[in-house]
């Protein structure tokens, strides 16, 4: 079987369609139930990994400290990482944009006359839409993580950063395999389905020219790339083909090897509720003389794609602390209701809402910032204590304020609406003036019968809000 031919309607969807997509999902009881069940499962598993609140809290504090320390030294650490990787024989490339990253990767492929690239799970490769670019260049890009493979067969994007096919049932997957993998009878037995995937992909690992992977932690002091996984496909991609290309965002760097164990522990326990993943794969060199396997060439592509914009602001920089565990999604009541595709961004859920504006600009993502009740569940579980609700509030400000001369963010003011801004100014004028407030609230109570019966958004599923006949201040006065 060749790499699946995916239809390419896979470009980033603008946030403009967000409400419509969200509505489609919330009105689908089957999907609602399915997401709810999946998220409940992941939340329960995570909770079981952290029985001691004190330990969890201190480990989160350590994780936060490690990430902040390393971000503070980021430019120096990138240089140190580059120096040590180069010394180790790993070739380092830098890309400011997805286009540059794709050009670098495809350039390496073309140098080796590659026909097939097998891919380990990499959200950064999704971010740059590498599969699309590879196929346009005549190179097969085959996802090998089971979830990613399923999603690719279906011509979709992952709906979750850790569990890419979480929106699919085994029956849907059974049908997909039956229709797309030659010679496969319909079966919805999960073990059988996994064995089908295993068989198909093993053949590809054996013959692939290029293995592509992401990176979970890049260690500057040793020049080491660390990969976390359960399936073994990541090890396949980084060991079996003659060339390994890793791609990572510039933020996933730690100075010290000893920074890895706490972050790794936080990652697997927060993500899937595992005390550890099946494999932790540390790559420090290409194949050395005398070694009998492993890629002869190893490359690392360091991608910016808006991260340096987040870095420039002390508050927004916290976005880059993320270790991509997905716990914020699993615990988000909004993600649970709408799933990952509704967001229309590579990274969905709370982390997606705070990182995507740096990658795509607020012009494409302003609407997403409003898709949160600010309940704080994401910040509460974040293993590195990213204050996601505070960042959402900040992004709302960036999105809805009047456009400024030298904005901190691309697309600042993109959601600005003169009428809405005027309403808030009016609101502010009333509520900062006791006299105006007294009058306005008195009128609202006195003329409560004039309250509209239809109130935008609110009354679609609620009775109208109506002021009480007397305000608290009136009741207090009457009492005396």
């Amino acid at each position: 079987m060749n790499a699946p031919q995916t239809p390419h309607a896979l470009h980033f969807m603008p946030s403009a369609g967000f409400r419509a997509r969200a509505k489609d999902v919330v009105e689908n009881p089957f999907l609602r139930q399915s997401f709810r069940g999946a998220m409940d499962f992941l939340m329960t598993k995570r909770a079981a990994q952290f029985p001691d609140p004190e330990e969890l809290e201190s480990l989160r504090s350590l994780g936060e400290r490690i990430r902040q320390y390393n971000l503070a030294k980021l430019p120096d650490l990138l240089v140190q990482l580059e120096t040590n990787l180069t010394r180790n024989g790993i070739q380092v490339h830098w890309a400011e944009t997805p286009e540059e990253a794709n050009a670098i990767i495809l350039g390496i492929c073309q140098k080796h006359s590659a026909k097939l690239m097998v891919k380990g799970k990499s959200m950064v490769s999704e971010e740059i839409e590498l599969n699309h670019a590879a196929e346009a260049a005549g190179i097969g890009a085959l996802e090998s993580d089971m979830g990613e493979y399923i999603v690719q067969l279906a011509g979709e994007k992952p709906s979750h950063i850790i569990m890419p096919a979480i929106h699919k049932t085994k029956e849907q997957i059974a049908k997909l395999f039956h229709e797309h993998v030659p010679g496969v009878e319909y079966t919805d037995n999960v073990d059988a389905l996994i064995q089908i995937g295993r068989q198909v992909l093993r053949e590809k690992f054996e013959i692939a020219d290029i293995g592509l992977s992401g990176v979970n932690f890049a260690v500057a002091e040793t020049g080491t790339l660390c990969l976390v996984e359960n399936e073994g496909n990541g090890r396949m991609c980084t060991t079996a083909p003659p060339v390994h290309i890793a791609i990572t965002g510039i933020e996933k760097i730690v100075e010290k090897l000893e920074h890895v164990p706490p972050l790794y522990s936080l990652l697997t326990r927060s993500a899937t509720g595992q005390n550890i993943s099946t494999y932790f794969n540390m790559i420090s060199r290409p194949r050395q003389p005398g070694e009998k396997d492993g890629p002869g060439e190893v490359h690392l592509v360091l991608l910016d794609n808006g991260r340096s914009q987040a870095y420039a602001d002390e508050q927004l920089r916290k976005t880059l602390q993320c270790i991509r565990c997905g716990a914020c999604m699993n615990h988000c009541p909004v993600y649970t209701r709408i799933g990952g595709h509704a967001y229309g961004t590579t990274y969905p859920g709370p982390i997606g809402k705070i990182i995507s504006p740096h990658m795509l600009g607020l012009e494409a993502t302003a609407g997403l910032t409003t898709a949160s009740s600010l309940c704080g569940a994401c910040g509460e579980v974040c293993p590195v204590k990213i204050p996601i609700p505070d960042l959402l509030i900040r992004l709302r400000e960036e999105a809805f304020s009047a456009p400024q001369a030298n904005p901190a963010m691309r697309g600042q003011g993109a959601g600005h609406n003169a009428l809405i801004s005027a309403i808030w100014r009016g609101w502010s004028a009333v509520y900062s003036s006791p006299a105006l407030y007294r009058t306005a609230s008195w009128l609202a109570s006195r003329f409560r019968w004039l309250t509209p019966r239809r109130q935008a958004g609110w009354t679609s599923v609620r009775t109208p809000l109506q002021p009480a006949p007397k305000r608290l201040r009136d009741l207090i006065k009457e009492r005396h």
Partner: protein, 222 residues
């Protein structure tokens, strides 16, 4: 200016003046992770790796070959990939074939026999460098003699572990052995057979790597 220089310039222009003190990882482990006796570490290691679906057998320093033979027989495996350049691999290669188990050695670059590795190698036998009790984890540092694919491609992977080399934590292992100064081409932590839960959160073993992981654990009192 190159992409590299532009990225670094942007970051440097906005980096905080100070990163503060180095995070105190040692203090966290000292406060939250105890040190156990060898017996307790072996017990904990076994508990967690068995939870992850590995098989563990306690063996004596001299008696592991017999157990290896029994495991292979029980699984009806008659071919085992070994590393002839290692003492355990050499011993297996010397003593198993007379018992009816072929022991091809990994003694040539993979390019010459990739298809055989992927399609005609039912099991492999390697050593572990050590293990981690906290999570039930094997530490493997593949070498010139015992290469990387041995612990990945064959459907059954059998590992010889000396229980004297079990650490309490990952952190303790890397600190005690000074990994930061000596990491090899590839180093691995392995905590069970390959698995996935990507289809409807249903756990399935044998995704891409070994379907079965067997640990022969050398303990002094066996």
């Amino acid at each position: 200016m190159s992409a590299r220089d532009r990225i670094l310039a942007k970051l440097k222009a906005n980096a905080p003046a100070s990163a503060g003190e180095l995070p105190d990882v040692a203090a966290w482990y000292a406060a939250h992770r105890g040190e156990e006796s060898n017996a307790d570490k072996a017990k904990r290691f076994r508990h967690f790796i068995e939870l992850a679906h590995a098989e563990v057998y306690a063996v004596s320093r001299g008696g592991w070959l017999q157990k290896l033979y029994e495991v292979l027989s029980a699984k009806q495996i008659d071919k085992l990939l070994v590393a002839p350049g290692t003492p355990h691999g050499a011993r297996a290669q010397a003593e198993l074939p007379p018992l009816g188990i072929a022991c091809p050695g990994y003694d040539a670059p993979i390019e010459g026999w990739k298809a055989a590795m992927f399609n005609e190698t039912p099991a492999s036998f390697t050593a572990a460098r050590g293990a981690i009790a906290e999570t039930g984890t094997l530490i493997l540092w593949p070498t010139v003699d015992e290469p990387r694919l041995m612990s990945l491609v064959p459907p059954v992977h059998i590992v010889l572990l000396d229980a004297a080399h079990i650490y309490n934590t990952f952190y303790e292992a890397m600190q005690t052995e000074g990994w930061k100064d000596c990491l090899p081409t590839n180093s691995l932590l392995i905590s069970g057979p390959s698995k996935t839960a990507d289809i409807q959160q249903t756990l399935a073993y044998g995704a891409h790597g070994p379907k079965e992981l067997v640990v022969l654990m050398i303990e002094e009192n066996v």
